[in-house]
Each structure stands twice: as C-alpha cells, then as structure tokens.
Symmetry: C2
C-alpha cells in the first residue's frame, strides 16, 4: 500500500515506560501498535517517556513514567508530553493518540488529523470532552466499550506480541488470578472460587487498592491461596505454565482485558465474568467460559478438560495478534487519509 | 491610545467563579484586570466559569468552579476551558493568561501572542514548563516572586477594587487574621502574638489544612481568640472595622498578598513577616510593620498609633488600585504589540 510512506505519530501515555516493565496496559498496546507499524514498513515516531524502547523514532520530553518517579508531577508531565507532540504536528500525516481525553483538547489547533483510540472511559466526568470533540476520529477497543454519538471508524481489538507468550502445551493444576488488586478485578471472587472448589490459587499483580488488599485478600492467604506480587512477562509465563485456568471475575464491564488474550495465547483457558468485552475476547465454551457469578465459575471448572489449548492460541493469533491489530489500523488510517483528501479537494 | 481597539482575551482560572464569592485570589485579580480594561474602553473577552460576573464578553464552557461543584473534574475543566480560549485565538490580538503553567502548553499552537501573569509558582515540579516556554511574555506580581531566566516584561502589582474596602476612620481593638487556614499563612504565629500580648484575635478564612486547624488552631480558641469561618467582602469590612491591626505572619515567601492591600485600603495597619513580597506591599513604619518573628510583631503593637490610617489607604490608591494595575498592563500590552509588529515587518 502506498500509504506507508505517510508519517505517523503515536502518542503513548507517560504513566509508565513504553513498553511498561510490569503493569501498564495502555503503554503496552501503544507500543505494540508502534512496533507493528514499523515491522510493516511505516515511518513512525513514538511520543513516550525517554526510557522507552522502540524501533520507531522516539520523541521524548519526560524522562521517566510519572508512576515510576515521584519527583515528576503527573499533570505537568502530561501537558509537556502531549503539547510537544502537537507542536510537531506539521511533521506528520496523522497523530494517533492513545492518551485519554487530553490530546483531543489540542486537536483543533493543528491541521494534522487526529485519531484517538479510547482505551477506556476512566470516569463519567471526562465525558464532556468526548461530547465536544465527538466528530473527531475514534477507535473503540471492543464493541462493548463504546459511548453513543462518537464518530467511531472501527473497533480494533488490542493485539499482543504472541512471541512473548509461547503455548504451554500441558498447563498445571493451579487457578491463577493476574491483574490489578482492585475490587473492579474481582480478586475476592477468585478467592471465593478457590474456597468453594478447594483448588489452589495463585494471585499476581500490583496492589492498587491497599484497603481492599488488607481487608478482602490478605486474610485469605495461606498455603493454598498465595499472593506473589507483580510479575513481568517471564513471571506471567511461569504462572501460565502452572495454570489450569485464569480466573477473571471482573465486577465492572471490562474494556478489553489484555490478560485474557495473553492467557489464551499461552493455551490457558479463561473463566471470565460476562461483563463488558469478556464475551468478545473469550469464546464461551471454546477458549474458556463466560459466567455470571462465582458459583457458575466453580461449576465450569469441571468442563475445563473440554477446552483445547491449541484452539485458545489459534483464536488469539487470528484476532488478537499485533499483526491483526495493525492491519486493522492500516484500514482505519486509509479511511482517514481518504476522508481528509476529500475535505481538501 | 489607539491600542484600545485591539481585542484582548483574559483567561481566568476555573477553580472559582470570577470574581470569587469568598476565597480565590487569582480569580479576583483576573476579574479586576478585566473590569479595569473594560472601564478604560478595551474590547475584552473573559474566559471564566459560566456563572462569572463581568462587563466584558463572557466566554464559558465550564458551568461552575470545580472547587464549588464536586461533579466537575478539575483536570477536565482546565483542559476544556483553556483549549476553548486557544481555539478562539484568531479572534484576539492578545491572550492574557492568568492560569498557571497550563496555558503555556498551548501557546506555540496559535499565532496570537500570549502574556502570562505568574500568580505564583505552585510547586517546584511545574518549573520544567516555564523552562521550556521561558521566551514567552511574562509578568511577575512582585519583584520578589520571580524565577531566573524567564522573559519578564514587567512587575505589575495586583490591583484591588478600592470601592469595596472603604476607609474605616477609627478602627477597633482586635487583632485580625484573614486568609487560608494553612501553616504557610502562620495562623499559629498570629495566635502566639495574641497570647503574648493579651489582645483579642479574630481569625477568618477557609480551612485548607484540616489537621493544622485541628492541632494548632482549634485548641487555642476561647473567648478572646475566635474563629469565624470564611468571610465575603462585607464580612471583611466588618473585620476591618474592628481591627487595630492585621497579622500576616506568613512562613513562606508571600507572592503578593492581596489581603495586605485590602486591609491597608480600609486603613488597617498590617504587621507582616519579612518574607517574599511583604516588604513591597507594606511600607515598613508607614503602612504597618515588617517583622522577622512573633516577638517582633508583639513589640511593634505599641507603635501602631504612629501609623496614619489615611496614609495606608493613600498608598494603596497609588500602587495597588485597579487603575494603577491596568495602566501598567496597558504599557505591557503596548510593548507586546510593538514587539510583534517588529517580528512581522
């Protein structure tokens, strides 16, 4: 395609490094988009923290993620980072923002078209910004995570780097929870499933809600239910190798759920709550089960042997690979270039 | 002057209404600049909350101050408010920002020159923004509150509306503290002066630091030392009528100190700490005393009868009136228009 001679700026968040060392879903996906585009021959500039790792051109004005350096004021870092990208807008044919509502507020001050992938509506209080800029270009990361009235060009599922999560042919006998320790992620429900089933549970992830951890997780920790802290990619793979299933009993609608795809990539079946995107990421009965409560999750455990681990990986390859994601974004970019050309003619 | 046919946008903060109902120093001054310019025939558009009161054109996208409505996210309000002003930049010959570092991040995206009055460096962590935009146009509000290396065009002292604070010819017998209840403002030192002198003290202002209030103010409250909560303009005048002196024993450098000028306008002598701008706003021995600690403040109390109340007001009329401030800003604006014209020729 001739559009690959276009120059694209990818704006990643600066909460964490791109790609993040451990937690940081938005930075993970922004990084995957960047590397996927580079692999397909695009001229890409990544706006991210200065310690980021990329094969694209890196443009950075913030040294480190503000979550990784208390000397950095988040608001200051965001303003400096986003404005820097827009000050260089004329150098690009497209600015692809992966950074929440803030970049939208700069979009009308430049001629370069701006595409925003909405990685989640972090609060109802940010909706006034989306309402004002509703006619800009948007991508949703699942069909379920859409706000009415926005000019969506497509849903593009997040893509993961499949080489990072090799297929674990056999799996283990542990239930695994992997995610932020926060009520939204239903760690307490995973613990309930472990109690009801008598199966061992490994819990991994950053503690985002200390009170929740102290009151609803810590008291249940023992020989069979263990918390091992946050894990990096290697740690995730070690978890997947020991897993009979990933439990993801989220209590609010999931926007996408990267870890569901990562687990499936490794061949691990996922038991997920039927909220938000889970039914899109997991094919019920084929790559795991979508349930409505902890009791249903316990019941499904006996059906785990029916899940084909290779089929789990195969579905991720088809739908949630970097390549699939980047091909979708190429189509979105093409649409934008055509729309913009029409405006000018 | 012919420059008054130029169109000016004044950007006020949106923490509070402009002018604020009670507390809100930046909004007070931004409002005074606006009304002063209008009074002198300028075409001014005020960007502020929708409930603001002005004789200028009001342009608002945020309904109420985010400090006055918990449903409003401060970050969202700031982004929407500031970007709206810059999206209309082409309609103005000058954007005069009174809103901290954020507006600077939009300044390079428009052709309209941007003047920033720095009402205070709220944190050392915001300095990277000023370093990046050091060559923009800046005004300091006192000679003491300057950061090295910025392109300052002038110091313009804050101006107050003298009609709001009529001269109290006689005054009373109370010591008065008026300001945020926060360690920075030295409420505890005012209490110490009251204890050492045996004089009664009236304390007014919003409680910004609850722990400080509970631990260092509340235990001292009794018949002679009283806390009366926040006060509006009328409440301030009632305080000034009862005051023998205003105690302003700040513990960090004052940036300007609006309340010092307000008290002086009402004829109330001020005893202020020799930190930051206090020595610029108060003329030591003429409109009050500038001291180094509570003991010195107590010693100065006996010299209060030597302070001429009319002289206090007269100095405010000369230096800290809206008219004096706006005349100074007109000179700054003129300088900017000349510099910009030179750039274009």
């Amino acid at each position: 395609m001739t559009i690959r001679n276009k120059k694209v700026a990818i704006v990643s968040p600066v909460a964490w490094r791109t790609p993040p060392r451990q937690y940081g879903a938005w930075e993970t996906v922004a990084g995957n988009i960047t590397e996927g585009l580079v692999a397909r021959g695009w001229d890409v500039t990544l706006f991210a923290t200065a310690d980021s790792i990329t094969r694209a051109h890196l443009h950075a004005v913030v040294d480190r993620g503000y979550e990784e350096d208390p000397a950095i004021d988040p608001k200051v870092a965001e303003y400096l980072h986003i404005s820097e990208a827009f000050e260089h807008a004329a150098e690009f044919d497209l600015i692809h923002s992966n950074y929440d509502f803030m970049a939208l507020c700069f979009s009308r001050l430049v001629k370069t078209p701006v595409l925003t992938t909405i990685h989640g509506f972090s609060s109802p209080r940010i909706m006034p910004v989306y309402e004002k800029y509703r006619d800009e270009y948007f991508v949703s990361i699942s069909n379920s995570d859409r706000a009415p009235g926005l000019n969506y060009l497509a849903t593009v599922y997040n893509g993961i780097d499949l080489s990072l999560y090799p297929l674990q042919e056999r799996g283990g006998d542990q239930l695994v929870f992997l995610g932020r320790i926060h009520p939204d992620k239903g760690v307490h429900l995973a613990i309930e499933v472990a109690h009801l089933s008598g199966l061992p549970l490994l819990i991994a992830g950053i503690i985002q809600d200390q009170t929740y951890f102290r009151e609803q997780v810590e008291p249940h920790l023992d020989q069979k239910i263990r918390y091992i802290g946050p894990v990096d990619v290697q740690g995730k793979n070690e978890l997947f190798a020991r897993a009979s299933a990933l439990l993801h009993l989220n209590t609010i609608p999931e926007r996408f759920g990267l870890v569901l795809a990562e687990a499936n990539a490794a061949g691990v079946p996922v038991i997920a709550m039927d909220l938000g995107s889970c039914r899109e990421v997991i094919e019920d009965g084929q790559t795991g089960f979508v349930v409505n409560n902890a009791e249903e999750a316990v019941e499904r455990l006996q059906h785990l042997p029916a899940i084909n681990r290779k089929a789990c990986r195969h579905r991720v390859e088809q739908l949630f690979s970097i390549e699939a994601m980047v091909e979708s974004y190429e189509r979105v970019y093409q649409t934008i270039f055509e729309l913009e050309a029409r405006k000018q003619s």
